[in-house]
């Protein structure tokens, strides 16, 4: 018995702007450019779009986008909370909406000026009690103690993970070296043609010791990404559709996004575990079916924690899985082939989804030969995409 959403919808277009440190134009313009590119890629006109899905923390107004791109009538719109951990939730929303028939063509988008605009990683200290619907209300208890940045919030979880699993910063570094190797062959990546060695990783300065060095952090980036979703039936005559074969979310009691400090066991990502069980539980797809995985890597420690949370490794074994070469181009589970958020740039995780699509189209800069099934996991939200 398969899930109602299984293979019921498809991605028919992807688009993006350049990724940079200073876009020099508004988020609305960036989103508009990415959406037009995605619609061109899909072979669809703006007036065919009748749904919009983004994030609670995205700054672009739907009304402005409609006016800017020339959409005519929107029948469904929604925004996903939970910050980056919700980044694949937009595809769950879009898949559910087109499967329910409330919209035919949905554009999913994210536009951000995370470097030239408001930087997540700047230790400015907030006057806001929360981070504007990013799923981190306990953040207010961090600020009085100088715990001001995502790296500092997450390092507390990462150090507990290191304590329980035996993983070291060098183990995190092995993943980073692989991501940077992929990024080095991706012209869109911030670190294009800039691979690093493990020694260079270990020589980068501490951000939050003993878990996170500079090279363990994703790249604050300006840019936009858009994805066009429609029904599988309508997608069947499009040029290069990719099926949304599974989509899931799992927001767990007392689990926050960045300032997640109050779950009983912080060495595991409970949302990732629960989401993975749903993703591999009801859609008839097993972990062995996954040819390539894109896993949210705002910081390198959470990549290992999600490898385990998603069930690709037992607890504490991600470090050995990585050291054995499994996430590399010839491994059993090539991961973050665009370079990840650490190597390509941080467009909130939606640039992981587009890389999954490129892999299934055979268009990746680091193509996994014959890839037919791709997983994108971002903490508590995730999708599995397949070539038809």
């Amino acid at each position: 018995m398969s899930h109602q959403l299984a293979d019921a919808s498809a991605i028919v277009g992807i688009g993006q702007t350049e990724f940079s440190k200073a876009a020099g134009r508004s988020e609305t313009q960036l989103a508009s450019e990415a959406i037009v590119a995605a619609l061109d890629d899909a072979g669809l006109a703006p007036e065919e779009v009748d749904g919009l899905v983004s994030y609670t923390i995205d700054p672009v107004e739907e009304t402005e986008l409609v006016r800017s791109v020339g959409m005519q009538e929107i029948h469904f719109s929604s925004r996903v909370p939970y910050g980056g951990g919700g980044s694949q939730g937009v595809l769950l929303h879009a898949a559910a909406a087109v499967t329910a028939g409330v919209a035919d063509v949905i554009v999913v988008y994210r536009a951000v000026k995370a470097r030239s605009g408001e930087r997540f990683g700047r230790a400015s200290g907030g006057t806001r009690p929360t981070s504007a619907h990013s799923g981190s209300t306990a953040m207010q208890w961090c600020f009085p103690y100088g715990v001001l940045t995502p790296a500092s919030w997450m390092s507390l979880n990462a150090v507990r993970y290191m304590h329980k699993s035996g993983a070291t910063n060098e183990d995190f570094g092995r993943a980073v070296v692989q991501f940077r190797s992929f990024a080095a062959r991706n012209p869109n990546a911030h670190f294009y043609e800039k691979p690093i060695t493990l020694e260079e990783h270990q020589a980068s300065r501490w951000i939050a010791e003993p878990a996170i060095r500079l090279f363990d952090c994703c790249q604050e980036t300006d840019g936009a990404v858009a994805i066009v979703v429609t029904s599988a039936a309508r997608a069947s005559d499009s040029r290069q559709p990719v099926l949304i074969s599974a989509a899931a979310g799992a927001a767990v009691f007392e689990e926050e996004i960045a300032s997640n400090h109050y779950r009983p066991d912080l060495s595991v990502m409970d949302g990732s575990i629960a989401m993975g069980e749903r993703l591999f539980g009801g859609f008839g797809i097993s972990r062995e079916d996954i040819d390539v995985a894109l896993i949210y890597d705002a910081f390198s420690p959470i990549f290992l924690m999600q490898l385990e949370g998603l069930g690709f490794c037992e607890f504490g074994e991600a470090k050995d899985f990585i050291a054995d070469g499994n996430i590399g181009p010839d491994g059993t589970l090539p991961c973050n082939t665009n370079g990840g958020l650490i190597g390509e740039g941080y467009i909130h995780g939606l640039n992981l989804s587009t890389e999954a699509v490129r892999q299934l189209r055979g268009d990746s800069c680091n193509q996994v030969p014959g890839a037919s099934t791709a997983l994108v996991g971002a903490g508590r939200t995730g999708v599995i995409l397949r070539r038809p």
């Binding site: 990683g121 103690y145 715990v147 390092s155 507990r160 939050a208 010791e209 109050y262």
Partner: protein, 93 residues
């Protein structure tokens, strides 16, 4: 609201101020002028079963470890307020 019984009633209780380090992190960058670096951030599991985020004081960063027993102290903050911080329990003031 209490997520277990859905009551809105609560009372303020004194805590012992005794706990142990559940996790920690030594923060180096980026830096905010309001703090002295490195900042030692820590999650403290209090004896009463509550976890709080705080700073560790009177200890060298390299001597901090998970499971370290700590006790509360107070440091001045803005507007004549005080914030609770923690120091190793073995040290006598």
């Amino acid at each position: 609201m209490c997520p277990w019984c859905h009551s809105f009633q609560f009372e303020i209780t004194n805590l012992s101020g005794q706990g142990e380090v559940y996790s920690y992190s030594v923060l180096h960058h980026p830096q905010n002028p309001a703090f002295e670096y490195p900042v030692i951030a820590a999650l403290i599991d209090l004896e009463e079963g509550v976890r709080v985020l705080s700073n560790l004081v009177d200890v060298d960063p390299e001597d901090v470890n998970i499971g370290m027993l700590v006790t509360v102290d107070f440091r001045p903050a803005l507007h004549e307020s005080q914030v609770p911080v923690f120091r190793p329990r073995s040290e006598v003031r």
